[in-house]
């Protein structure tokens, strides 16, 4: 798949919670090619600081209108600048980057947390386009972090919710609800995107239940093209570049979380 550098016009920003935003950009070239699980590298300023582009997973694609949606948390200087981008501003994107999800499943279960739930949104759209409705298990620290349930309302079948403080859904991490969900239905693949400890634990549970599992890893990236090796990690029998060989891997490929 050809990668592109494309100037994209901001068409809107949406406040999802206090620190999370969705930005929509017109990027028809990248939108035409991007598949679920892939990401784009966003240049938030033309100045020399912050210097690096920011990798953000694709949360939705509207091919007809060439619109790409990205969801991000305001964590530092770069994402703060991104949050200040107004409709009409132009940002340079590089993408689509990386290897996305395998969509062979007929009965998929998604497990996610935090902004890991963004690429799973696009994956849900892709499954629905094939007439398949995914079930979704999501976890957060507290109820305000699970604004995601509204975004998934029309996309998911069963929706499992957990919070660390019990303010919404089952108290605990996603692991508190995972065994129940796994035994409730004959899933044929688990898709996980979230913090590394979540992915490690969920993939271990999925594999123990005999289910194939795909994970989307996150590592600090420099180039996003497989050149700088900032994001490389140990795979089974070989080195893996998260930006190029991933970010989506089969759980059995990963040796270092």
């Amino acid at each position: 798949m050809t990668k592109h550098m494309e100037d994209a016009k901001v068409v809107g920003q949406r406040v999802l919670n206090a620190t999370t935003r969705q930005i929509d950009l017109i990027a028809p070239v990248i939108a035409a090619d991007a598949v679920p699980g892939q990401f784009v590298n966003v240049q938030v300023t033309k100045h020399s600081a912050p210097l690096l582009r920011r990798p953000l997973g694709v949360a939705a694609v509207d091919r007809e209108n060439g619109v790409l949606s990205l969801i991000y948390r305001i964590l530092g200087e770069a994402t703060q600048l991104l949050a200040e981008a107004c409709s009409g501003d132009v940002l340079s994107l590089v993408g689509p980057l990386g290897r996305g999800f395998d969509l062979q499943a007929k009965q998929p279960l998604f497990v996610g947390g935090g902004t890991g739930l963004a690429p799973l949104l696009y994956l849900a759209d892709a499954f629905r386009a094939r007439g398949i409705v995914p079930d979704v298990l999501m976890g957060g620290r507290t109820a305000t972090e699970l604004f995601w349930k509204d975004l998934y309302e029309e996309k998911a079948g069963l929706l499992g919710l957990t919070t660390d403080d019990g303010s919404l859904g089952t108290q605990g991490t996603v692991l508190a609800l995972l065994p129940d969900m796994l035994s409730a239905k004959a899933y044929d693949c688990v898709y996980v995107c979230g913090p590394a400890p979540m992915m490690k634990a969920v993939s271990a549970a999925a594999l123990a239940a005999g289910l194939p599992c795909q994970v989307s890893l996150e590592k600090y990236m420099g180039c996003g093209l497989g050149a700088c090796l900032s994001c490389s990690c140990q795979g089974v029998g070989k080195r893996l570049k998260v930006c190029k060989d991933g970010p989506v891997f089969w759980a059995q490929e990963v040796a270092e979380w």
Binding site: M5, S48, L51, L229
Partner: protein
């Protein structure tokens, strides 16, 4: 057609390494070049400088390997690479499909091993060897060779004795006198010099109260180091007769021009490749525009214009 790229106005030379344009890529920031072919035409570069290659494969350092700093980045990748056999069997044949010189950056843990690696890479398709004696991120060798003039000379002599290729020595900026190191490389038989490698630095996570990088310290690159690089090129240009490949935070044609004026015969784009993956190609157009605006016919006329007595 290739011979007349930019009407020959940007042609330059590094001790016999002919370059159609004076722009190459800095080792470690451009992979093996093939990662960037969606964004630029490798044949419109002066040369492709590939990722630091070692005799055997290396996994690199554990933990976080990169962090952003003001107008720069720190990295401690630690020379992760698939090794010289993989390079020769898999990567080099693909690169040979392109009409562009290939500079192979090499690193080793002893002068003898540098020599062995240089001999192994003395093959068709490799046009120059860049000696990496300045990597700050490996314990066995690396910068230790580049910060002591006698050690540096012994490495250069070993490489020189084992290759017919153009030998470029990449200097570390982490020294008191860059000119002493440049002269040591020249006397030991280096054909050209490249500078600068990264500056040793560190960042601390004030919330975790720990160093951010897995290797504690890392090499600083990007626009933040450009003034240091320009100063060192300017000094080295006056201290040796060797042609200089200048680098350090170049992100646009104007940045590159500074290096030519300071005495560099060619430049490399490093961290800039991460920001704009087409930069190494497009910057040549900007250099031409500068030359037109300043009525400079040929790049060679621009080299060293800012040096004393010019």
């Amino acid at each position: 057609m290739v011979k007349t790229l930019y009407d020959g106005r940007l042609a330059t030379d590094l001790a016999g390494l002919h370059m159609k344009t004076p722009v190459t890529t800095a080792s470690g920031t451009f992979g093996f070049g093939l990662e960037f072919t969606d964004f630029l035409d490798l044949e419109k570069l002066g040369a492709v400088t590939v990722k630091g290659t070692t005799l055997a494969p290396r996994a690199g350092n554990k933990g976080q390997r990169m962090v952003e700093t003001p107008s720069g980045i720190l990295n401690c990748v630690g020379l992760e690479n698939p090794g010289s056999d993989y390079f020769l069997e898999t990567t080099l044949p693909k690169l040979r499909a392109y009409d562009v010189p290939v500079i192979v950056n090499i690193a080793a843990s002893s002068p003898e091993e540098y020599g062995e690696l240089a001999a192994k890479l003395d093959v068709d398709g490799v046009d120059a060897i860049e000696i990496n004696v300045s990597c700050p991120n490996v314990k066995d060798g690396g910068m230790a060779f580049g910060t002591d003039a006698a050690s540096l000379a012994s490495v250069v002599r070993q490489v020189r004795a084992n290759t017919r290729k153009v030998v470029i020595t990449k200097l570390s900026p982490n020294v008191t006198s860059i000119t002493d190191m440049a002269r040591a490389a020249e006397e030991a038989g280096s054909d050209a010099l490249s500078l600068i490698n990264t500056l040793l630095g560190m960042k601390i996570d004030i919330h975790r109260q720990r160093p951010v990088l897995g290797n504690v310290t890392g090499g600083l690159s990007g626009p933040a180091i450009r003034p240091v690089a320009v100063r060192m090129v300017y000094q080295v240009a006056q201290a040796t007769k060797l042609p200089i490949l200048g680098m350090g935070g170049i992100c646009c044609a104007d940045d590159a021009v500074e290096f030519f004026l300071a005495g560099a015969s060619a430049v490399a784009i490093g961290t800039g490749n991460f920001i704009n993956p087409a930069m190494a190609e497009t910057i040549s157009q900007g250099i031409l525009a500068y030359m037109d605006a300043h009525h400079i016919a040929s790049l060679r006329d621009m080299i060293g214009l800012a040096l004393p007595g010019r």
